[in-house]
Symmetry: C2
Subunit: 287 residues, 2 copies
């Protein structure tokens, strides 16, 4: 009983704090020109782009998408539990036609910057949390206003592939389809995340097989039927998505509950910690 | 150059230590009566069972499997990024015909017990590592010989579902298909893991949809064509699997390399830490 009162009080505090913010809506509608629609032979996938974090990568990806650059290209490197990677044939004329991009990973935070903290002392970062529904890591600076932050790899993350050089990404991209490869954080440019249809990303034909098994014929690799910005999709086929607003008090409340594991199912309590990649950010389809 | 010499030296030490163990083979062949073959409409999945950790659960699962209990049942609760759960209809005669199982999760370790350590200060446990190719967590005891250990949830983990009571598991099982739900560690009985065909588990029809989407018709739920012990499969259709021996020096060397991230691709080094669920344990098919 004591515990329940305490959590009601802390929830009330959260509501109160968040009520001072600009927008406490539990849901946020995605802008159509900031959303991509990937049509696969077996289903549709919707991606939220992140120009606020990786403006040059989103600009290049959006421009290529508008040109139909990805249409007909294949997922040519798909490793179960790791990534599904797509783009034009490596080293082809089409591949080489695209300018290289400068890495956009870590950014400096100033004293006005804030985020929704999830966990301190995460395995790979001082702190983890969410900003605009994207999973991030945060490192406090020596001074109060000189921290740094970066997007983290979780299942469904969209990032640009690259060569060995930092600034060698161009058009090849990958989705994370397994346990978060957090060791890639801050050395790859993440620029989006899957908000709908992740099961179709999971069903993409794997291209790597185990030893002793027949290789997969490249003609069976999964093809991108079409990649479009949602704003360029004919109206009747547009998918309008709302995602959880991770800056809202409703979301803060959900984090508190998820950490507490108060349900009867938890006959023994797990440690009160949260893996930032194991918190589903809900989406819903709206008219 | 200095760093390279250092890592060569530490590898040599590892080889030397492991050379004193009983079996230093890099691969371990799975016994056919300790392996299950799950035939889905779209592919075959091989499971390694863990009688050394969860003897009663494996015994019951094996007995039910031999009876053809699971054949024709469906994956009735499939949540993308979380679990794919199957078994007979909840509360049905078939469901109720099965005796309840006592929880088998944590076990005490004595002074002769050993494991391959992966990480200290993991988010959910004092230590993580591998034992017999299964991901585990370990907590040292007050005395040297009174620690405890338990299997951890990772993608591909097979565990028995249950009701709210600890000892209420019976026949319904689930595979983990997303970021490791580590908060379920030690309150569920894990009794196996996928060693082959995980991409087919990932392609199982999801039963839960997002708000605003049409519900999935239960007739479209993925059916289990057949669940068999591999020893009961006709010889020409048996799949013989070897898995990495996580107690070998070859595996220890792989952990050292994976932590060091020495490749040219890592122009900036990630933290030298490893997530136990982000280390693929390799399998191969043999004759």
């Amino acid at each position: 009983m004591k515990a329940s009162l305490k959590s009601i009080l802390s929830l009330t505090t959260l509501f109160f704090i968040s009520a001072c913010g600009a927008d406490d809506s539990a849901w946020r509608k995605l802008e159509l020109n900031n959303t991509a629609l990937l049509t696969l032979p077996h289903g549709k996938v919707v991606i939220e782009l992140a120009p606020q974090f990786s403006p040059k990568h989103v600009a290049q990806f959006s421009e290529l998408t508008k040109q139909g650059f990805y249409d007909g290209t294949k997922f040519y490197r798909v490793i179960d539990g790791f990534v599904a990677q797509a783009g034009p044939k490596d080293g082809s004329k089409k591949d080489k036609s695209v300018p290289l991009l400068e890495m956009e990973s870590q950014w400096k935070t100033d004293k006005n910057w804030s985020f929704t903290q999830v966990q301190k002392q995460d395995l790979f970062a001082q702190q983890t949390g969410f900003k605009d529904s994207f999973a991030i890591a945060y490192q406090a600076g020596e001074k109060q206003d000189s921290g740094s932050a970066w997007l983290t790899h979780c299942p469904g993350t969209l990032a640009m592939a690259r060569g060995n050089e930092a600034d060698s990404a161009s058009s090849h991209f990958y989705f994370v389809i397994g346990q978060a490869p957090r060791y890639l954080d801050d050395i790859m440019t993440i620029f989006g995340r899957v908000v709908y249809g992740m099961q179709h990303v999971q069903a993409i034909q794997r291209t790597e097989v185990v030893e002793g098994e027949y290789a997969v014929d490249h003609r069976d690799f999964t093809k991108i039927i079409k990649m479009q910005l949602m704003s360029d999709v004919v109206k009747v086929e547009q998918i309008h998505i709302e995602v959880e607003n991770t800056e809202s008090s409703a979301f803060a409340e959900r984090l508190v509950k998820r950490r507490a594991r108060d349900g009867a199912f938890f006959y023994k309590k797990p440690p009160p910690v949260l893996d930032v990649c194991q918190i589903p950010i809900r989406s819903r389809i709206v008219q």
